[in-house]
Homo-oligomer: 273 residues x 2
């Protein structure tokens, strides 16, 4: 059965990071409704095992299907790296991740074929960007680096800060030394320190924001499958937010980064799914 | 039924941090056997809700009871803050936390009755140190501050580092400004950056390490209840380590901080308990 084109898009992440993806969907597909799930009880995913991430992702997809979504975006690089291939064809609706859209653009845009990738330990350890980039162009050299302090710095709100600048310099010097001309921001929190990263890396390096590229790819996919919302049937709350813990804290963070006032976040028991 | 005095002591934490408590028990009670559980699948606890922390703690206590421990140390400040009062009398064996031993020493040692406490958002938000310190001495002023970047800095291994020094200065300046003469390191990771904290705070401030004070309190309690190990019946593996995820990573960290070579860590499914 074909999904309802005016049904919402499901978006999930380990916590608040995926809101940068939701934000790009809101900006670029303003007619689409969104059901967002942030797994705040089990955040972060970046230092957890592949098998646990797959289990968590299946539970969340079951929850989103109950919300009758027409498509799902895994708005978390770690979950995209570990779970997308496992779940992609399992549920009868389209499921997108954030790895491939970013990697595709990076492969197109690099001139010297040296592409850097930054992300969590899980994402970088999986080697998935490298594998996908080389499948697109075997001549590309991929330089990956885990940056575990970026997420806590973003969550502390130190976005434009000397400490963050120093940590950026420490982590990213290697990309300068090795002359990468393209850098994939391979964790959904990182676009929030994009300007600090830009300041350190300079204007000559292309920074790829997979959140933006994923929103564009979602648009293409919905168009192709004739699933773009007609914009009719708009509800009072086109954007709904669910979490597995601490709904108020989530809401405060969401309100600080979304171009939209989050009215309501509801806590659910994700272990039941 | 009285527990077996040669049974092991159970110690648990959200992850690796509680190893600083296990280390003090190894140093100060060398005849005691230890079963350690690190909840690496659900780490960190510091930004999770009270109700989830209580649920996690009960699951872990069930697991430790299955290992036939004679007493349990909750080697995590957040779990001690949220769960100790709930579970203390529920299981028929003594259960200690890390909050009270540290707070007791701080109350004894402060001269100007201004005590600082640093910890996770959960621990500081709970206000438990303040409540307990004031129950010991109503004249004590308690200054609490959450330091969410300390744990990721420790886990990154940046123990003696200019970035860590700058973050320490940022978080702890308030204690200097307000003239605290005693500072409780209210998170089990923090003793690992004790020398950086010492450098910033100076020699005049008493730093209280609850890991050490808890080991001494455990010793007193076991003595009082006639449960100190006779030292006989030593097994080949007096220290056993269990985790809920990524056993190898845990083992590497454990080997870097314990005065002992960790032979084996085993992964279990804690959601089953």
């Amino acid at each position: 059965m074909k999904p309802d084109r005016d049904a919402p898009v499901g978006v999930f992440d380990s916590g608040v990071g995926g809101l940068t993806v939701a934000r790009e969907i809101m900006r670029n597909l303003p007619s689409e409704k969104i059901v967002y799930f942030g797994d705040t009880a089990r955040v972060p995913y970046g230092n957890k095992s592949r098998e646990n991430i797959i289990r968590y992702s299946r539970q969340i997809i079951h929850f989103l299907l109950e919300q009758q979504v027409k498509a799902i975006v895994i708005a978390c690089n770690t979950a995209s790296a570990f779970a997308l291939d496992e779940v992609r064809d399992e549920f009868g609706i389209p499921i997108l991740g954030v790895i491939e859209p970013g990697a595709r653009v990076a492969a197109q845009e690099t001139k010297n074929k040296k592409v850097g990738v930054i992300g969590t330990e899980g994402t970088i350890g999986s080697g998935i960007h490298a594998a996908f980039l080389r499948s697109l162009d075997p001549e590309i050299t991929v330089i990956g680096k885990a940056c575990p302090l970026f997420v806590p710095l973003v969550e502390e709100g130190w976005l434009h800060d000397p400490v963050t600048m120093e940590v950026v310099a420490r982590y990213l010097q290697e990309f300068k030394d090795r002359d990468a001309d393209t850098l994939i921001l391979g964790c959904t929190h990182y676009p929030l320190i994009r300007s600090t990263i830009r300041e350190f890396m300079g204007e000559g390096v292309r920074l790829v924001n997979p959140a933006y590229e994923t929103a564009l790819e979602l648009k293409e996919m919905l168009k192709r499958q004739d699933l773009l919302s007609t914009g009719s049937g708009q509800e009072e709350f086109p954007y709904r937010f669910y979490v597995s813990d601490l709904a108020d804290k989530f809401k405060a963070f969401a309100n600080s980064i979304l171009p939209y006032d989050v009215e309501m976040t509801r806590k659910i028991d994700i272990e039941k799914y």
